[in-house]
Amino acid sequence: MSDELPDPDSSHYWEGISNSELRYQLCNSCKKSIFYPRSICPTCGGNDISWQVSSGLGEIYACSTIYRAPPKYKDKVPYIVALIDLNEGFRMMSEIIDFEGQVVSVGKRVQVTFRDDIDGKPTPYFTTID
């Protein structure tokens, strides 16, 4: 992780992650959810933006099992990277973990969980739910 992180846009997000809270933003003007965190609404251009806490519930929008990993992740293969659509209307990337033989596929319901990443940094992951 780079020395410049967290940055002014992301510090509130990472602080949430350290407290097991998945935070996202809401544009108070157009009411669209915003992710990743920004100082301007990418939908309407407004800057009246508030922080919210996500339920951490969502479903898999797309997913891929990685067999040829970047060097740092080489010992981890195979692992599943997914894009998750959260109930609150935003999308984020994460890894699906602890799926214990369940089929992980597009449309599967998932829930956030917080673990340390490969660098020991608190990070949001997702597990499948029924």
Binding site: D7, A62, P70
Partner: protein, 381 residues
């Protein structure tokens, strides 16, 4: 306002391709430019505009212009991944139309195979990328794999459909003497190749080669006196929708939707009018998504569209006739080669792989992780 027939391509050339250890990014671009200018019947002193994009060096636009000894009056280093050169052609047309230049060179070179100087995407861990990097998605292949997973889930597209495209593209490469991979390929070969990021196998992925290219673009008055038949820009459109894959609005619809609509409208032609189509094939899924986004087939039907060798030699939809990034060459940003092949097909110079009576061609580039798109429609006088 339109760019239709505002400029013509007068010369095209590749440098040596494949594995070229005795070269640098600069020598490869110089090599391509010398050949392309000779073909155009022009000299370096005639060049008054430089367009380039590179993954190397510091301020590569300045470095390559310095190396070649060109002090341009118009300069554009738009760098939006592999589609950059289709953007450059549109921008060169606008600059020529505005009277700001008359002879532009579009340049690219890479020694990524031999020297591995390419900066890999996962090195970026800050700003928007901080929300993706913890998860170890290999870029770009992992991003394209996510898009393929979405297309398969939505439409039932199969790995065999992707493999079809790889096989048809290889069949074209077998007719191109300078293609990097020319041995026969079957659907089973593709499906049996190593899984890289599901559902993409190794043979769904483009090559990693060295190589460079140059396209010489001239004003209509100069086009009257060049040795070869001028190849006119008839339509161009461009757009980009995101930088990182988690920000792509819909993973099955690329910005080729916008770039294609603008290019068709400007050229005043329809899909069925095109004789030959060159679509960026970084991965097999790239082509399927682009075909749908450009409107050649309905959403979800590209798998059927490419089935039964339809896009291969002798098929009714000649696609990626040089063998593409999958089998001919792929030195990192492949888009310049789409233009080179389009021009050669229109000039009837393609030997065994020539599409008969080709008068209208499309080159559609994609860059980043399905992020940027520029589509150019080219034709004879």
């Amino acid at each position: 306002m339109t760019l239709k027939k505002s400029c013509a391509i007068a010369g095209v050339a590749e440098s040596r391709l494949g594995v070229v250890p005795d070269s640098t990014v600069l020598t490869l671009q110089a090599e391509a430019m010398v050949k392309a200018l000779a073909e155009a019947g022009l000299e370096k002193k005639d060049v008054d505009a430089v367009f380039s994009s590179g993954n190397w060096g510091r301020l590569p636009q300045l470095q390559i212009s310095e190396y070649l000894g060109i002090q341009p009056s118009y300069s554009d280093s738009t760098s939006v991944g592999g589609a950059s050169f289709e953007f450059h052609l549109g921008h060169a047309a606008a600059a020529i139309q505005a009277g700001l230049c008359k002879v532009a060179v579009i340049l690219y070179g890479s020694t990524q195979r031999s020297r591995q100087e390419r900066r890999i995407f996962e090195a970026h861990t800050d700003l928007g990328y901080q929300y993706e990097t913890p998860y170890g998605l290999p870029i770009p292949v992992g991003a394209y794999a996510l898009a393929a997973s979405r297309h398969m889930a939505l439409y039932g597209t199969k790995a065999e459909h992707l493999a079809e495209l790889a096989v048809s593209t290889r069949d074209w490469a077998r007719l191109n003497p300078i293609a990097y991979r020319r041995e026969p390929l079957t659907i089973e070969d593709v499906l049996n190749s190593d899984m890289i990021a599901s559902p993409l196998h190794r043979l769904d992925c483009c090559l990693v080669t060295d190589g460079g290219g140059c396209v010489v673009v001239v004003s209509p008055d100069i086009a009257q006196s060049i040795p070869k038949e001028p190849i006119w820009l008839l339509g161009q459109g461009e757009s980009h929708s995101h930088a990182q894959i988690s920000e792509m609005p819909e993973l099955t619809i690329t910005p080729a939707k916008e770039s294609g609509e603008r290019a068709f409208k400007m050229a005043g032609v329809k899909h069925g009018d095109l004789d030959v189509v060159e679509i960026y094939d970084s991965f097999t899924i790239t082509v399927l998504l682009t075909l749908e986004s450009l409107g050649f087939c309905k959403p979800g039907t590209s798998g059927e569209f490419v089935s039964n060798g339809r896009t291969g030699p002798g098929g009714e939809f000649p696609l990626n006739t040089n063998g593409g990034g999958l089998s001919y060459c792929h030195p990192g940003q492949y888009g310049i080669f789409l233009l080179i092949e389009s021009v050669r097909q229109l000039r009837n110079e393609c030997g065994e792989r020539q599409v008969p009576n080709a008068t209208l061609a499309m080159a559609s580039g994609t860059g980043g992780v399905l992020s940027s798109s520029s589509t150019c429609i080219l034709g004879l006088d």
